[in-house]
Symmetry: D2
Subunit: 317 residues, 4 copies
């Protein structure tokens, strides 16, 4: 089932599980996918920035995407196809859709500066992959160093019928959601899904501003799912109460570069992936940091019992 | 009293209060300074990035610094003297010390890239202001786009006897504190104060990693003071409990660019400054954002009664 | 006489002469200004990037600008007033105009990224200095890292009646001149002067594309003047012949950072300034580089006798 | 024959020939390779920045590299293997060496900032490709935005025995060559080849500073070859005379982004490649620019008869 502008809920951004020696860990891919399905994710996004996508060669990227897609079954899978050039982008996009992906996600190359450069890039990207593939626009200035104004996003979306979703992770970003939703009210922007990233750091208010859900890699997707649902149900205080209990850990995970090590550590601790290893170049996690995460987990567990799990192995991570 | 490497506790980063028409608001400077003293700050840092320093001309900058310094009395005042050139830096530094400042703070210009460029810049800066002025090294890559390795910080500090403090706001930054403290343990780095910024977002763990305190602009310096004290007293859970209650607001204030508007809004609401106006170019705060801040304040107030104040005026901000 | 959109010819970008100990050298300012007048420059631009403007404090900048303006007499003087904030920009702009400047030049701060940010910045800048001051827009991406599309330049110019000139130094930049001139032909852009920088590296073709002249710091302004005149007279081959004889030296001078040292060395050698010293932080020039410049001068002199001068002193520079 | 630290002479940086519809043009690869051999190049470097490498997918890159390598016969072929990740870098490097390449070239990713980050990256790169592959370090800050100090280059080279060459295109870069050669004189740096890029803009003096030759894409490799030889033979004036005749065109070709279109236009005009097409996103060349290049060629031809060729087809480019 292809991605549409009505997509909503929680899409987990999946890390790519590796063995300690750097080989791709297929069994952990399966377990991770099952985990996302079991906790109730609506979709999974693979080969994103968090997924160490550039560290894989073309054949590996295709293999990983396919493994996730096949295992995801009823969950929609979005494949990150950002690449330095359109030929590679197209190859991965077509292969992913052939394997059953719901859509693809495209981030801008860091060299783009002017509004026109940005708009033209995505026009060419859509042309490259083909306009039959639903795609997600990733707006993540902190890491990608490309700044989209709301008007530029509107232009991209209005230029490309197959752009169905914004992965929103500008910072600050709350007013941007409001502006885009106002564009839709005044009829200048067609409907599109807005799912939020940034590790969930502003999910509480993003939902209130009109987001459709979350698309991020927090190691407790359960929390994202609950906040999205509570917020949609109008249970504001309950949404914030739960969110606030997790925020200290969310904040800890959202450290640039270091965050992936924390996430893999927690997912490993939860028994979901067999190793927290990253491919080079990658950040490690010190014993002190592990202890800090453990302490944060114990504090979350006071409010959210799901954080009260036992380490998978004594030599975690 | 001049700043030393033993400095500790909480230094508030002061915004510069303006009238609605952009003129400097001297009375609000006085009230703001008194407020910091009353809640128990150990010092105040003026003309920092938060303080809209570049928006003032040379005469105004000197006037603002002097007003704060004179009013601060027993509190130590640090003056941000970062400038595009050393002549301006020297002029403000000498004038500030003559007026009674405890020290100055220097941030690197964004053009610095290599380790040598960074080290040489601070050597020349110290030479420019004179080695009799204690100074604070500001390490703030997110905004300044200059990346200091721990070894580069060590080199700068060992090259300059008058560098007595690191304003630490790298992100991630916890391991950096540990590395610097280890340098001191192994004798390769002399003692220096480390005060932490980033709006306080990681103050809970920064204290545990060995920081001496906080230097940041959170609109509730009381929280910074308490967390610093509780952490130093070894009351870990109590420190985190209080910190966590404020974290949703801390996070909201720490939005790049937008944060200053939030801080001025809260300080205005607290009755400390007469207007939340910024000089151009400046970010505003929408009605929706104000309502979000009000909601966050009401939630903080459930745990910390000090957040339970009434708005100063009905036309706040 | 104020700068207008009809300005044309050659405006020399003046370095700021310093004594070896870093003090401003007033007598060399006089001699340099006289030199520019004698060779036939139409104007002089001071306190630009080449002029080490940020290395002076506010009082010094005003003093240097005034000295040049008073001495320039019939030549028009443009003062660079770019500053990190509008208060400083306004102070220098008003003081310069009071002293008799023809106009001011404004470069964008490096943080500007989107089209809207750029357009808004210059709207606020015009508002800050007052709309009675003719100003020059500096488009220099290599150094300033801000990228103006032709449409953005048009918007800035159409928004501000007092913007009368573009200092054009984009790279590549030839098509940009053509596009802007076409905007004027189709009536969407009002008349404005375009003077070219980049050390003159593309002056031969820039004139053919429609530029009105040169505004740059090549140490032989005579060459710029001649090429501008020959090109306007339709003597294409003669213009290129003279230009090509100088290009090896033009290219050598146009090395980022290092170029200023070369220019001051040549101007010193020509007897125009007393010292080639720069304020810190500044680049020096090695003995090998001096010998290379001397060799290039000797080669230029085979075609252009004016390059056949004797060193001012044996211990030049 | 593998690349060694004794490599010298002229290595042409080859563009990748495409058909008008974007397909790889194998016959033009053959003709281009033969052309380089016939004029006397010592080697050819493929899939560099000029070669539109990122626009090809993994299979295409391997195909292009192999085609060049097989055709080059006695000429050494260097393959650019820069990639966002080490898995892709390794795959292309191993495949290229298996096909008979002499070595590979590695450029840094733009995210590298501190000296340690740079040094570690190349340590990991060497580990990734295997230490049996001779490799070239590309130092090109203008495009890659990574700044290598001479000491960092020394560290990289001393850390990796298989690094045999520096592709030098820093700007300014003359003093850097001198510094590196001095490192070798004082014994702190082992012998390595230095070949110069930047379109040849400073080749005249780079040779005098100690470079071993040229590695760049100027559409007249004959000029590079001659300047290298004349300079090595100590015929300084002759080298400069020939160089200066070409400099106006060299400068025109060296426009960032636009330069490739000029080179492909000239190579097409010379009858070497069948089309001047670039893959998207690519810069075009206007009729005015073509006329400017034609004029420059006619001027070069007054001194260097080899520039006096007739267009290959009336519908050039």
């Amino acid at each position: 089932m292809k991605l549409t502008a009505q997509a909503a809920g929680t899409f987990a951004i999946a890390p790519t599980p590796f063995h300690d020696d750097g080989r791709i860990d297929d069994k952990s891919i399966d377990r991770l996918t099952d985990f996302y399905a079991e906790v109730g994710c609506d979709g999974v996004t693979v080969l994103g920035i968090l997924g160490e996508a550039p560290k894989m060669d073309a054949a590996e990227a295709q293999q990983v995407a396919t493994r996730f897609i096949k295992r995801a079954k009823t969950m929609q899978t979005i494949v990150g196809v950002s690449a330095p050039g359109f030929a590679s982008m197209r190859a991965l996009a077509r292969a992913s859709m052939d394997a059953g992906a719901a859509g693809v996600m495209i981030a801008p190359p860091p060299s783009l500066r002017t509004d026109d450069q940005i708009v033209n890039y995505f026009k060419q990207a859509e042309e490259a992959i083909g306009d039959d593939i639903p795609w997600v626009l990733q707006d993540y200035p902190l890491t990608l160093s490309v700044i989209f104004t709301p008007a530029v996003i509107r232009k991209i979306v209005m230029d490309s019928k197959s752009c169905v979703m914004l992965k929103h992770e500008d910072w600050p970003g709350l007013e941007k959601i409001t502006t885009l939703r106002n564009f839709q009210k005044d009829g200048s922007l067609r409907p599109m899904s807005i799912l939020c990233g940034n590790g969930g750091t502003f999910l509480d208010f993003e939902m209130e501003r009109g987001a459709d859900g979350a698309m991020t890699g927090y190691a407790f997707p359960e929390l994202l799912i609950d906040v999205v649902k509570l917020s949609k149900a109008g249970k504001r205080d309950a949404a914030h109460d739960l969110f606030d209990a997790h925020l200290p850990l969310i904040r800890y995970e959202q450290q640039p570069g270091a965050g992936l090590a924390v996430r893999k550590y927690v997912l490993h601790k939860r028994g979901v992936i067999a190793s927290s290893a990253q491919r080079k170049p990658g950040a490690g996690i010190t014993a002190t940091a592990k202890a800090e995460v453990d302490y944060l987990l114990s504090r979350v567990a006071r409010v959210d019992k799901r954080a009260n799990f036992q380490p998978q192995s004594s030599a975690a991570g």
